[in-house]
Symmetry: C2
Subunit: 140 residues, 2 copies
């Protein structure tokens, strides 16, 4: 699916509304010159950027700080073969401003990991694309 015209393109507002529904997405980046992907829970900031909470000095942070990455989320129902996918593409940056860090510690994404120091990463929503698959009968 999702490789020809048999889907509906979603506008930016639809994409952001769908993104806000799911807790986990996937950061897509390059690591040691190979394509890499890492699932991570996230939240959306008021400016529609994607907020990640990771640990200082993590491999992920080292790989993506200052780099354009993609962030993908989706939902599919195998029974109806329907679903959607949204991709945010933009620069990822570590949040270094202390006030911003304090704000995100209160209102940003929580961690799915045991307690640890938090480092927040923001992915700007420079490009937001999405597609909806409405479901088709199974065919070979």
């Amino acid at each position: 699916m999702f490789h020809n015209d048999a889907f509906r393109a979603l506008d930016r507002q639809e994409c952001l509304r769908l993104l806000a529904k799911v807790p986990v997405g996937r950061v897509v980046y390059t690591r040691h010159a190979l394509p890499a992907v890492l699932p991570i829970n996230f939240s959306l900031d008021a400016d529609a950027s994607v907020l990640l909470r990771t640990s200082p000095g993590s491999d992920l942070v080292r790989a993506i700080d200052g780099v354009v990455v993609a962030f993908e989320a989706d939902e599919f129902d195998a029974a109806t073969r329907a679903g959607w996918s949204v991709v945010v593409t933009g620069r990822a940056t570590i949040v270094t401003d202390p006030d911003e860090h304090a704000r995100l510690s209160e209102t940003g994404p929580t961690s799915w990991m045991p307690p640890q120091d938090a480092q927040f990463v923001r992915i700007e929503s420079e490009m937001v694309t999405g597609r909806e698959l409405r479901g088709t009968p199974g065919v070979r």
Copy 2:
């Protein structure tokens, strides 16, 4: 999650067993020098390579034929914050052998799209990695 040591690494056999449970994964590649990701249904071949069914001349095929890509699948439960993720990294190639094409037309992945000519793409499972997150209480 999945960015420090608080998860369990899965061995290749566990990864393949989990991959076989889900119908949809995500191809991770580079498109116009940017990270790109596309959800697609798939199946596993007997040699553990990932099989995709797409349409001839699709953007995806043009972008990944002959290239090393990552293919990711996962399952997460937001309530328990538990789940798993598996990534297969390897070269993607269009299946050009007529006998192989015929075999996959019978036993390969079905399409979630309306009927169309099929083109099969195989992603070799050169590297298979996976991680399990067992679930932790929510913490900020």
